[in-house]
Symmetry: C3
Subunit: 257 residues, 3 copies
């Protein structure tokens, strides 16, 4: 069964999400729709990109991801469909898709360039019909005009030397846990047999745990999470509030010689 996922910043108290679903069902009632989230902060591309990057590969290959975050974009932003890592993405070329994968795209077309639908609601009027076509087996090349590239923004990069890894918080989750961009592979490569200190805010820790519950209640845990990223939290507490860290805060791992 073809799957279309939805990721929007539309919230759940208006008609927008239901209108997108209704359009999809009206075109092809056989499609399975799965919500990723509609609680992305309005026009927050970094939030949306984090969530999409974290989960899209968990869906079966061939899944179509309709992304209605900052859907109108800035003047001149195209509406696009992209094939990337054997998944399809439909949305606005506002920079979001450039943040979810470092692999080159497989196919890329501009939607709505021919027979343009003039609309203030592209999620329903442009993205939904395109997503249905992709999920129904229509070739992406039949959906629009080929494009060479889409927008790439430069994401915060981890700085890693033999002495230090410096990363940033890329997401504060519902629990208040601080997810950084420091990958386990980088740590494993650099940390071999070395004593290290994890620093953030005014705190210093000398241990990375395997599980959240290896900390005592109210104490800090530091783990490599299910995304393979360094995550800092307070066991049964809100680390963001208690430690005063937020999106874009710095986290260092310092190695001793």
């Amino acid at each position: 069964m073809a799957i279309v996922t939805l990721l929007t910043d539309s919230g759940e108290s208006d008609h927008y999400v239901a209108a997108i679903k209704a359009r999809i069902i009206s075109i092809n009632p056989g499609i399975r729709i799965e919500d990723i989230s509609h609680k992305i902060e309005p026009s927050d591309i970094a939030h949306a990109a984090f969530v999409l990057k974290a989960v899209f590969r968990d869906f079966p290959k061939g899944t179509v991801h309709l992304v209605g975050v900052d859907a109108t974009g800035n003047r001149g932003d195209a509406y696009i469909a992209v094939q990337l890592e054997d998944h399809f993405f439909v949305g606005c070329d506002n920079g979001l898709f450039g943040l979810i994968s470092e692999k080159p795209h497989q196919q890329l077309v501009e939607l709505n360039a021919i027979n343009t639908v003039n609309t203030t609601f592209p999620e329903r009027d442009v993205f939904a019909p395109a997503a249905v076509k992709l999920a129904s087996g229509v070739s992406i090349t039949n959906l629009g005009i080929p494009m060479a590239t889409f927008k790439k923004m430069i994401d915060r990069q981890v700085k890693a030397t033999k002495k230090q890894i410096t990363g940033t918080v890329v997401r504060v989750d519902r629990m208040g846990n601080l997810i950084t961009n420091i990958p386990k592979e980088v740590f494993d490569t650099l940390s071999k047999n070395k004593v290290y200190t994890v620093q953030f805010g005014g705190e210093k820790f000398r241990k990375i745990h395997l599980h959240y519950n290896q900390a005592e209640q109210g104490e800090c845990f530091i783990v490599f999470n299910s995304l393979g990223l360094l995550e800092i939290g307070i066991y049964k507490g809100n680390a963001s509030q208690l430690l005063g860290l937020e999106y874009d805060s710095t986290v260092n791992i310092i190695f001793e010689e």
Copy 2:
């Protein structure tokens, strides 16, 4: 496949919505359930009516819309099933259904009048079984006792003269955008070749845009939105907060001779 949509003010942190869905599935597991929203403000009929009116026609004809907003209603309010514009609606006759369409209803029955189920949870115990029957092809006339009419409340009307259109904000959406009840057709009919001013709060504008992104960031846009209604917003900002306008605020369009 038969579709039942759900629109409630039950929120998502209790068992209520799941209990409605479980009842539907238990009676007929073949039914497709689609959420419109469960984030309607408690007993806010205006909010619910706006959302339902904005989206019900996007679903296929024959869709059954179960509405659990102010579900108990006031003393004496009947539980009803209505056929309207080839859609079915099941809920409480609390005035909500009178706000979603100006067309005459096709069929109308009172539910729960014979073999009355005495319950504090009519969404689960009365509306769900009726919705399943409708979605399964049972004739609406077999569901209850025919009624002549249901409650009609008088909605805020737009006042339109050759000199001026006066409307009100009928919905502040998640983004803070102000959706009015001023239809594009009325504006188009009256504005021909005339210079006009759009006034709201202390603001005056002389242009209606085609797209949200025709305004600069932080500036006002005014568009006719995907519902054909005049909508005021701040591009990448919250118009309701920044302009101090809210539900029921007045918006004028004044034509020069």
Copy 3:
């Protein structure tokens, strides 16, 4: 069609819920997934147990309930699958399942004891695969190692004598209604022909209503709700805020001789 319900404290602004669903779909795309709630307060076992207990029996027998609330639990808590009242439950043995039924369990196994998956995200990596197997017809005894018992916490009990019933608020719902643990059967048994007073906060009432709308707007209603439990509310108001009562507040029913 096999059903898997989801009940988590993961919220809806992160990737977690979508990751669980994606895992289920990837293993068996024929499974129907139904959300109970993802808005359980973080690690709030009492909240989750109330919601689950209130609704699980409304689903068809054989339904699999995946519970990701306080999913990691405390050190030493096992991951388990339980068969109880002909439903299946998968989650952490953190005490939650001990609160949803007083019946003895039918089957109980420890998951993840053989071929242990080491993960910080057991909902996706342990519970989802187990839930899919159960929903696909695999015997629960094939999922893990048999256990004798799971954690039982002692829930707040109602005290009932010929003179008085004393209960507590076990849930404040979205509307601010106060749901107590006082069952209708206990009241019916003790109240025969007696005059009674319901007391809570500084309030005293001498009548239990049949319906919410038997109170006037802004006044108190007291009903036995659809769960058969005494519920106190303000008609079209928020009883918790207006009466100053909350989770664990005491409610008394006093009988006169």
